[in-house]
């Protein structure tokens, strides 16, 4: 999408200041209205609740007293919360980064291979992408099962490697390794398809010209292909960061299979345990608002750059 606009610069810049049509803004109203009702209202409700004491009694109709910033103070002075934030940021950074690299690799592979192989790649990636999360998580937990998992079985076959009944989900490091592998597996298809679409926009002539000028494969990738598909990469990475920061289902299901102790929490499960688990809805709302701010800080720069690039 942004590739297309890049290639047709200034097509829509008005040169004369005639009557500006107002129709487009009218057309935007339904979409914005849906967003305001669908997400604006819950967000507002959440924002007000983060300033109130809201627990189980309030859920059953008792008045919720305003405590203003008490929830935030409690939360931000809690070391455990910051540990979860840090863990989530690292998990998100590593997972999104690796996803992008693998996705780019597969996209490049798809441009290089023949039609049949490409079709096979595409079909298998679509299958991975279309698999319902809970169904694939069930299979993943079986794969990494301590006693009967095929991962331990295969690794144990390697001479000198002792993986007999190795419990992947017992230690946070291996737990998040497994979680990261699963999330990457689930996200790579989207990244690969998007980048592949971007790559098809790189014109043959440019590459040919570079070839004639004696550019090596590596140079072509670094100096020609990557800059051209950069806008797509930015958007894809932005989406990955947001998705990986709020990852929930995968972590919950892994916790059910392994340990649910707090060392295994990311922001999503932390907030769930705080709210629905311990019935501190006010605190959970405050935590969600903090996460929202973190998301905006992490992704804000990106959004800004993408918008600037678009308006160039």
């Amino acid at each position: 999408m942004s590739v297309a606009t890049d290639r047709q610069p200034a097509a829509t810049v008005p040169t004369r200041r005639k009557r500006r049509p107002i129709m487009p803004y009218w057309l935007l109203i339904p979409a914005i209205a849906i967003l305001v009702i669908g997400t604006g209202y819950p967000t507002l409700w959440q924002l007000t609740n983060s300033f109130r004491e809201y627990g189980l009694p309030q859920q059953f109709g008792k008045p919720a007293p305003w405590v203003w910033f008490d929830n935030y103070v409690t939360l931000l002075t809690d070391g455990q919360f910051w540990a979860v934030v840090l863990r989530s940021l690292i998990f998100c950074g590593v997972t999104a980064g690796v996803t992008l690299v693998i996705g780019l690799g597969i996209a490049l592979l798809m441009t290089a291979v023949g039609r049949t192989v490409r079709l096979m790649l595409q079909v298998s990636m679509l299958l991975a992408w279309a698999m319902p999360v809970v169904a694939s998580m069930t299979v993943w937990t079986w794969l990494f099962d301590r006693r009967r998992g095929v991962v331990n079985y295969v690794l144990d076959k390697i001479p000198g490697v002792d993986m007999y009944r190795f419990d992947w989900l017992a230690e946070p490091l291996t737990f998040f390794f497994v979680a990261s592998v699963i999330v990457i597996w689930m996200s790579v298809p989207f990244v690969a398809f998007s980048l592949y679409a971007g790559l098809t926009q790189v014109s043959e002539e440019v590459l040919e010209a570079a070839d004639l000028d004696g550019a090596t494969g590596k140079q072509r990738l670094r100096l020609i292909i990557l800059p051209i598909i950069r806008p797509v990469m930015s958007i894809v990475l932005l989406l990955q960061i947001i998705w990986d920061l709020r990852v929930f289902t995968q972590i919950t299901i892994l916790q059910d299979a392994g340990s649910s102790a707090s060392e295994f929490d990311l922001l999503g499960t932390y907030i769930f345990k705080l709210g629905t688990g311990s019935q501190h809805f006010g605190m959970a709302a405050a935590a969600s608002v903090v996460v929202l701010i973190i998301t905006l800080v992490v992704s804000g720069g990106y959004v800004w750059r993408i918008m600037k690039e678009d308006s160039k």
Binding site: G55, Q59, A170, V289
Partner: protein
């Protein structure tokens, strides 16, 4: 200019999408005033049962009887124990989505009754069984002298062991808690747990605290509950538990909600069991035994007296250790629009016929007048003996929050993982005390 306007619109849209990623975790709900209908005639009601404890035969009976009594339909929905707490929290206050009658874990009763989730059924108490009902379960459903939740069934936990393995090793059933540790340690090999116990399985782990005279929490003179994991008796129990887990169980430290019976049955691929001893709710015996097939050709396990046996967890000085009193309470949702129908269902549940059906299926009937229906086989015997000295978790208003927070799993996991017991107990006492008073 136009560009910036479109840009702003796009940014607003993008912002809203980002916001969508952070859903509020609680639904807004309000307690709807109840409108008691004039009669139960034709009221269609919903009953939530927790997990698969209530067998199909009993469910069918309830539906049939309810239809006969009122002409309405009874829909029975099974909730998973793991999600039940959050589902109850979000559904009970909402008159559009609440179950009319719901089973609840007995330990959650104080929490929900205190906040007014259930209807006052004091006027029915005598009719439903009165003083014949299991008292400890009735008590957790009382607020200010009024009955809100009544017992549904009780269960308790006892040990299942493999006679063949005990015999081969020349050991006999232990009679004290220390002997239990010694025997199971002796039976532990590299691929067999003498006693399979999940490291985070606090519902079984607390027996060691109770057996040593410890408590999970006590109510102070000021009426406030405090967590008492650091109590010297609790510490003694935890030390014993840590030693037992370290030497006798190969279960993962994080395992908390296991199906222990799979570990005492012969493993299909190895032909031997994972464990020589397990502890489980009484009805687990339906899942224990030699692998066989039923008439439909589905695999089932058939109890084999030659190989399978039961014994109750012994106390510190012999006798019986107090185990966690399993079981459920049942109550009418205060937000239900079908109060009359719900009350009708309560009458059916507490009828002599249904109480005896509970007993016949190995569930301790709420009305102790019908306890004989449990029969007199070894399972009924073990159930009675262990239930007699079983113990409930603290009746603190915030107890459900403690369970929901996962702190107990975490604490027991860390203790069994070899952590410093005194330091951990102090740390988690502080965390749990903060939740106990609601």
């Amino acid at each position: 200019m136009k560009k910036t306007m479109v840009g702003i619109a796009a940014f607003a849209t993008a912002g809203a999408l980002v916001l969508a990623g952070c859903d509020s975790s609680a639904d807004e709900t309000s307690a709807a005033p109840t409108e008691p209908g004039a009669s139960a005639e034709g009221q269609n009601i919903t009953l939530w049962v927790m997990g698969g404890d209530t067998p199909a035969e009993l469910r069918d009976y309830l539906s049939t009887e309810y239809a006969e009594a009122t002409g309405g339909t009874l829909t029975i929905e099974e909730q998973d124990w793991g999600d039940a707490l959050s589902k109850l929290t979000t559904s009970l206050p909402d008159s559009e989505n609440t179950p009319d009658v719901t089973e609840i874990g007995n330990t959650w009763s104080p929490t929900f009754t205190t906040v007014g989730a259930f209807s006052d059924i004091t006027d029915m108490y005598a009719e439903l069984g009165g003083d014949s009902l299991l008292k400890s379960f009735v008590d957790v459903g009382v607020v200010d002298g009024k009955n809100y939740a009544l017992p549904y069934y009780f269960g308790s936990r006892y040990n299942f062991y493999r006679k063949d393995i005990y015999d081969a090793a020349g050991v006999s059933v232990p009679t004290t808690l220390q002997e239990f540790s010694d025997v199971t340690k002796q039976l532990t090999t590299s691929d067999q747990s003498g006693f399979y116990l999940g490291g985070s399985d606090w519902r079984n782990g607390i027996s060691w605290i109770f057996a040593n005279g410890g408590e999970l929490a006590v109510k102070g003179d000021d009426g406030m509950w405090v967590s008492t994991l650091s109590d010297p008796n609790s510490i003694k129990g935890l030390e014993m538990l840590q030693d037992l887990y370290t030497n006798s169980s190969h279960a993962p430290v994080g395992e908390f909600d296991s199906t222990p019976w799979v570990n005492i049955n012969d493993n299909e691929s190895t032909g031997k069991p994972e464990a020589a001893t397990i502890i489980a709710p009484g009805w687990a015996h339906w899942s224990i035994g030699d692998l066989s097939e039923n008439e439909a050709g589905d695999p089932i396990n058939v109890w084999n007296d030659e190989k399978n046996g039961v014994f109750v967890l012994p106390g510190v000085d012999g006798g019986v250790a107090p185990v966690f009193a399993g079981g459920s309470n049942i109550a009418i949702s205060a937000a239900s629009k079908n109060q009359e129908g719900a009350r009708e269902l309560m009458k059916i549940i507490f009828s002599p016929e249904y109480q005896e059906m509970l007993g016949a299926n190995g569930l301790g009937p709420a009305n102790l007048d019908y306890a004989d229906s449990l029969g007199d086989d070894q399972f009924a015997e073990a159930l009675r003996t262990s239930a007699a000295s079983s113990k409930l978790t603290p009746a603190a208003p915030g107890w459900a929050a403690v369970e929901g927070s996962g702190l107990l799993e975490e604490f027991f996991g860390k203790v069994n993982g070899g952590g410093d017991i005194a330091a951990l107990a102090a740390e988690y006492d502080e965390k749990i005390s903060a939740l106990l008073n609601g």
